[in-house]
């Protein structure tokens, strides 16, 4: 069986994706030496390659746009090549943070109030007036981040109104639409979900305690700068509620095989949905591999199971 791991691409998360791809490919080779596991970047030669080689299964580990916004999965679907992970339409919905939050909020899931707007709105109505009304409605502090994208690129936590415009500029550097979200004080956690047989399994929540208080790009990818607890230091009922939140998000957004939900647990033990990732990071410092390790599931074993599921 030939498996093709897609990683890299042109997004700002290229480097992270390459590391995720390398780790998954190596783990899979160790797990299944009888399979041919290839790695490939995404460029203009990819589609001819896919048409000619027709791998038995593709594992898309592209982060950011094209990788997670559904477009690459559209291509794979149109070529009728099986792949691990969510369908194009579900990926597109999950990748758009404001839309994913709307879907979940409509189903009664707790998520911080937010506003998302394109640059044109601010230009037409005047940034100061728009931002004043947003701050008035949501209060401070605010999390300001690109509406689409990951790895905390362009994300800021803003505590003073005068810092909002600079944070908007930083976020617009990565996306045409920016989301302003009420900051919820609490414990930051990530919960992985994967398919096993006919069930969905939620892994233990991983608790994230960055040394400088903000889980930004450096805190994510510099080993030693963030303390992780797995399982998270939560009461049993709160931990179960966090897992239920991740399972609900996975199902309500129509995701498949694998996802990771990021959430905040507030001081009352309530779990707030922040966002969900359809191609969770698999690097040495990423969250999902830590939860897998706690559950004594190898990265290679998980992906081998998922590939078998897809190709059965």
């Amino acid at each position: 069986m030939q498996i093709l791991v897609l990683a890299g691409g042109l997004s700002a998360e290229r480097d992270v994706s390459l590391r995720s791809g390398r780790r998954v490919a190596e783990s899979l080779r160790r797990e299944r030496p009888d399979w041919e596991v290839l790695e490939r970047d995404v460029d203009s030669t990819l589609i001819p390659h896919l048409r000619a080689q027709r791998p038995d299964c593709v594992i898309p580990l592209l982060h950011g746009a094209a990788g997670e916004d559904g477009s690459m999965r559209d291509v794979l679907e149109s070529l009728r090549i099986p792949f691990v992970g969510s369908a194009a339409s579900a990926s597109r919905l999950a990748f758009d943070k404001p839309n994913a939050k709307h879907v979940l909020a409509a189903a009664g899931i707790l998520t911080p109030p937010h506003v998302s707007m394109p640059q044109t709105t601010f230009r037409e109505l005047g940034a100061a007036a728009v931002l004043d009304s947003v701050v008035e409605r949501l209060g401070l502090p605010l999390v300001i981040k690109p509406a689409r994208g990951g790895s905390a690129l362009g994300m800021s936590i803003v505590r003073r109104a005068e810092d909002v415009p600079a944070a908007m500029v930083a976020a617009f550097a990565y996306s045409d639409t920016v989301m302003l979200e009420r900051f919820i004080e609490g414990t930051e956690v990530a919960i992985g979900v994967f398919s096993r047989d006919e069930d969905l399994v939620a892994l233990s929540a991983v608790e994230i305690v960055p040394e400088n208080g903000i889980y930004d790009y450096a805190a994510r990818y510099t080993a030693g700068t963030t303390m992780f607890y797995c399982p998270a230091r939560l009461d049993d009922d709160v931990a179960e509620a966090a897992q239920a939140l991740a399972l609900n998000a996975h199902v309500l957004l129509g995701l498949a095989h694998l996802s990771r939900t990021d959430a905040i647990i507030d001081s009352d033990g309530r779990a707030w949905f922040l966002e969900v990732n359809v191609a969770p990071g698999m690097t040495e410092t990423s969250l999902l591999p830590q939860a897998l390790s706690e559950a004594q599931i190898g990265v290679g074993s998980l992906f081998s199971e998922l590939v078998e599921r897809v190709t059965a």
């Binding site: 042109l10 992270v16 930083a170 550097a173 990565y174």
Partner: protein
């Protein structure tokens, strides 16, 4: 209760100087810059494709077949004596006369920079550098925990009055000033060159104040007009330590550079080199030596000059035609770089993600300072892309700047959030 993990068991064992070594958003963006779709005006990679590969191959093969046992063995810590004699010919082009014993060959001049700093500087000692300065030097000075102080430049490089004031101010503050580090010819990143009078003034200050002058001259032979500028070391063999390199005149991958130093300094550099690297690569040294002995190396440098001049012209013409009002840039008379100042309100670091998304890359100015200056600046390298690609890159950059200006008009001046980590590309990024 679960045990916490920081995923690195050695995190409490690292030296304090390692704490700033972190992943950074900017470095992540440079990973995209290496893709062929991106016009990278970021990296400083020499255009080695202009070298006669067949001749170099023959040279390397000859070294192995005729002098293999020597080439593959340890060598002298000071470097191969024949190569040191040949280096005298090379530095003669910039007016430097010396004895082969004055030369220490190093694995790239970057290592010479490291060795000189190791020999001169204790933690807290002051090194005066240009504003902006070469990022590799700043990295070395930081690693030895020096107090790096930037000194103003103008269109002719380091400003002597500012230099004298900085020395006085540091001494009043009770600091020990150990070195003045300068790149007088075709500056990286500023693209400017000190004229003869300026060089004389700077040398006079160093002599008067009794401070070692570290002259870094990797681009000296890559001027586009006239004779190569005369090195400062040509006028003082005792007060100036001169660093040279074959990275830009032959090939950066060979990693052969050198220091020319006064007797006492040179003795210490050799001992420091032996403890750091034992010896420079014999194979690389003999390859360079064979190349210098058998190939028309001066003619090859002319080829490089022409390649880079054409690219410089493409860059300058495109900047002139396309840059928004309020943008200024330096006009390099040699070397690899132009230093661009953005219109008021723009921040080069904040704008980089948008630029990379538009498939053009540059290095934000903050990478060339230790103190957060340079937000309004960026370095454009014209050494690697073909002229047509440079023109396309400037077209893309101009469009990015226009949309960034619109954003600034909407929200006010832009500013990237202050984040830790490196803001310059790795050496193998185009």
């Amino acid at each position: 209760m679960s045990q916490g993990s920081r995923l690195d068991p050695w995190v409490d064992s690292y030296a304090s100087r390692a704490h700033a070594m972190r992943a950074s958003e900017i470095r992540a963006l440079f990973a995209v810059a290496s893709r062929p779709e991106v016009v990278s005006l970021a990296g400083g990679m020499p255009f080695v494709q202009a070298l006669p590969v067949d001749m170099l191959t023959a040279t390397a093969v000859r070294v192995l077949t005729e002098r293999g046992p020597t080439a593959l063995q340890y060598g002298s810590g000071q470097g191969d004596v024949t190569l040191r004699e040949q280096i005298l010919e090379v530095i003669g082009e910039v007016g430097v006369t010396a004895h082969p014993d004055d030369i220490v060959v190093t694995p790239g001049s970057q290592m010479a920079l490291d060795l000189v700093t190791r020999v001169f500087c204790d933690p807290g000692d002051v090194v005066l550098v240009e504003a902006p300065s070469y990022v590799g030097a700043l990295g070395v000075f930081r690693a030895y925990e020096c107090d790096v102080i930037h000194v103003a430049m103008d269109d002719e490089g380091l400003v002597p009055t500012a230099l004298a004031e900085a020395i006085a101010a540091a001494r009043v503050a009770g600091k020990r000033v150990k070195m003045i580090y300068t790149i007088p010819s075709f500056h990286n990143p500023a693209g400017v060159t000190q004229g003869p009078a300026r060089r004389a003034e700077i040398l006079a200050i160093a002599q008067r104040e009794g401070i070692a002058l570290l002259e870094d001259d990797p681009y000296g032979l890559l001027g586009f007009e006239g004779e190569p500028p005369r090195a400062i070391r040509a006028d003082d063999s005792e007060g100036v330590i001169y660093l040279g390199s074959f990275s830009k005149t032959i090939a950066s991958g060979l990693r052969v550079g050198w220091a020319v130093a006064p007797h006492g300094v040179r003795e210490k550099l050799v001992l420091a080199a032996e403890s750091a690297v034992l010896c420079p690569s014999n194979y690389a040294q003999l390859t360079v030596s064979e190349y210098l002995a058998t190939q028309p190396w001066r003619e090859q440098i002319k080829v490089f000059r022409e390649v880079y001049r054409e690219r410089r012209d493409a860059l300058l013409e495109s900047l002139q035609a396309l840059m928004p009002a309020g943008t200024t840039w330096t006009i390099p008379a040699g070397g690899f770089y132009s230093w661009l100042t953005l219109p008021e309100g723009l921040d080069a670091t904040a704008m980089l993600p948008r630029a990379v998304a538009a498939l053009v890359a540059y290095v934000p100015g903050t990478g060339f300072y230790v103190d957060g200056q340079g937000r309004q600046n960026l370095r454009l390298s014209y050494c690697y892309p073909e002229p047509e690609r440079i023109r396309e890159g400037v077209r893309r950059l101009a469009a990015v700047m226009e949309s960034e200006l619109e954003l600034v008009n909407t929200f006010g001046p832009s500013a990237a959030a202050s984040r830790s980590g490196s803001s310059v590309p790795a050496p193998d990024i185009r």
